[in-house]
C-alpha cells in the first residue's frame, strides 16, 4: 500500500497538492500550508529522475508553498508601510483559488469521460459518394482562395511566426541542468544546523548555503533555518536587504 502510494503519478503540482489536501481531510480553503508544504517536498524529493520540464513545475509550486509558509512564520510588521507584494493570507487565497479551479476541471473531466464512453457506442462512416460524382466536384480555385492576399502579407505572417518560435525557447529554463535526488529532510537539516554551533556562536548563512550544491537542498536548508528561528533556537539578523544573514545560536 505504502509502495503504490509512493509510486502514484501526479499530473502536475496542482494534482499533487489536491491529493495532499484530500489525504489530510482538510477543506481546500483551510489548507494548512505548513503541514502540506512539508508533505509536498517529501513527494517532490521522491520523484527522483524526472525530466526537467516536468520537475520545474513541481519546484515552482514548492517555492510558492515555501514562500507562503515563510511569510506566515515571520513576525508581521503591520506598521511597515509600502511593503511590496501580497500578504501571506492573500497569497494563500490565490493558491486556493487556483486549486479550486483545477479541482473543478478535474471533476468535469470525470463526467466527460463517462459521456465519452456512452458517445463511443456509435459508429460513423467516412463519406461515400455515388460513383461518377467524385469527378464532378468543383475544386476551389486557388486564385479565389488567395484573393485579397498579397505576397507581402505572406512575408509578414512568416516573420511574426519566426519571432514567436524564437520566443518559445525559455532562455532561463533551458539553461537549467539536471536536478539530482536529494536526501535531506527539513528535520535532518535542523539537527545538522544545531550540531554546527554552540550557544553564542555566529555563522554566516551565505557560507552554509554555499556548501549546498543542490537547489532543493538550499530550499530545505532555508526552511530549517526558519523552523529554528520560530522555535527560538537561533536568531537571524540581516543588516540590510540582500546582505548576508547572520545566524546566532541561542
Amino acid at each position: 500500500m505504502e509502495l503504490s502510494y509512493k509510486l502514484e503519478i501526479f499530473e502536475g503540482p496542482l494534482d499533487l497538492l489536491l491529493h495532499l489536501v484530500e489525504k489530510n481531510k482538510v477543506d481546500i480553503s483551510e489548507i494548512p500550508i505548513a503541514l502540506v508544504a512539508g508533505q509536498y517536498l517529501e513527494h517532490v524529493r521522491e520523484m527522483g529522475d524526472c525530466p526537467m520540464e516536468v520537475m520545474s513545475g513541481f519546484l515552482e509550486m514548492a517555492a510558492t508553498l515555501i514562500y507562503i509558509k515563510t511569510k506566515m512564520l515571520l513576525p508581521r510588521h503591520r506598521e511597515q508601510e509600502g511593503e511590496a507584494g501580497l500578504s501571506a493570507e492573500e497569497e494563500k487565497d490565490a493558491l486556493v483559488a487556483r486549486l479550486l479551479e483545477y479541482k473543478k476541471f478535474k471533476t468535469l473531466a470525470k463526467e466527460l469521460a463517462d459521456m465519452q464512453e456512452a458517445g463511443g457506442r456509435h459508429f460513423y462512416k467516412s463519406p461515400s459518394l455515388p460513383a461518377g460524382l467524385l469527378d464532378d466536384i468543383p475544386r476551389p480555385d486557388p486564385q479565389e482562395l488567395l484573393a485579397g492576399l498579397a505576397f507581402a502579407d505572406l512575408y509578414k505572417v512568416f516573420c511574426s511566426l519566426l519571432r514567436q518560435s524564437d520566443d518559445r525557447v525559455d532562455p532561463v529554463r533551458s539553461g537549467f541542468g539536471k536536478i539530482r535526488k536529494e536526501s535531506h529532510t527539513v528535520h535532518e537539516k535542523m539537527e545538522e544546523l544545531l550540531a554546527g554551533g554552540k550557544r553564542g556562536v555566529k555563522r554566516s548563512f551565505r557560507e552554509i548555503l554555499a556548501a549546498e550544491p543542490e537547489r532543493m537542498g538550499m530550499i530545505v536548508l532555508f526552511l530549517a533555518v526558519l523552523e529554528l528561528v520560530k522555535g527560538g533556537r537561533i536568531q537571524a539578523r540581516q543588516s540590510d536587504a540582500f546582505d548576508d544573514i547572520l545566524i546566532e545560536y541561542l
Binding site: 496542482l14 483559488a97 463519406p127 461515400s128
Partner: protein, 177 residues
C-alpha cells in the same frame, strides 16, 4: 413506412456525407427552406427510433448526422474487430474539458489552470481532431486560440456545447485571470 421523396433524399444525403451536414447545406441539397428541412430531419429521427432501425439520426451543432444506433454496438464491433475510439488518458480529458469550457483558449491559459506544460497533449488532441485552432489572440506573441471540433461533440454524444455538464459552484469557484 414508405418514405416520401424528400425524406428519401434526406436519408441519401446524410448517408453519403458521412459527416455532420449543416442545416443550411441540407436545405440547399433538398431544395427546401431551413425550417422545413429541420422538421423533416427531426421526423426521420423519430421514424428511425420508432422502427428500431440500425442507424439513428443525431443532431450535432446546427446540423444532422447519421450514425449506427448504440444498440448495435456489439454487431458493428464484431465486424470492425476493435474498439471504435481509443479512450483518452486522464490528462487528455482534463485538457479537453478546459478547452471545451474555456474556448477560445490559449495553451498558456490551459497550462495556468493545469499547472503543468500541456503542449504535447494539446497537439495530440488536435491530431485526434477533437480540438482545432480557432485563430490567434490579439496581444503579445499572438498566441493560437484553441476550441473543440464537431468530432468532439460527436464522440461525447453532445448536441452542442450547451449540452456540456453544468459548471456548478460546488465544483469550484471562478478564477478570473
Amino acid at each position: 413506412m414508405r418514405l416520401n421523396r424528400k425524406e428519401a433524399a434526406l436519408e441519401a444525403v446524410l448517408f453519403a456525407a458521412g459527416e455532420a451536414v449543416s442545416l443550411e447545406k441540407l436545405a440547399a441539397a433538398l431544395e427546401l427552406d431551413k425550417d422545413t428541412a429541420k422538421r423533416l430531419a427531426l421526423r426521420l429521427q423519430d421514424t428511425y427510433q420508432l422502427e428500431q432501425r440500425g442507424m439513428r439520426i443525431m443532431e450535432i451543432g446546427d446540423g444532422f448526422q447519421m450514425c449506427t444506433c448504440e444498440t448495435q454496438f456489439e454487431a458493428v464491433r464484431r465486424l470492425v474487430g476493435k474498439e471504435p475510439a481509443s479512450s483518452l488518458t486522464d490528462a487528455q480529458v482534463e485538457t479537453l474539458s478546459i478547452i471545451a469550457y474555456r474556448q477560445p483558449v490559449t495553451k498558456a491559459h490551459i497550462e495556468k489552470i493545469r499547472g503543468v506544460k500541456s503542449d504535447g497533449i494539446v497537439n495530440k488532441l488536435v491530431e485526434y481532431d477533437l480540438v482545432c485552432e480557432l485563430g490567434r489572440m490579439d496581444g503579445p506573441g499572438r498566441p493560437i486560440l484553441f476550441g473543440t471540433t464537431q468530432a468532439f461533440l460527436r464522440s461525447f454524444g453532445l448536441r452542442s456545447l450547451e449540452d456540456l455538464p453544468q459548471e456548478s459552484m460546488e465544483k469550484g469557484m471562478e478564477m478570473e485571470t
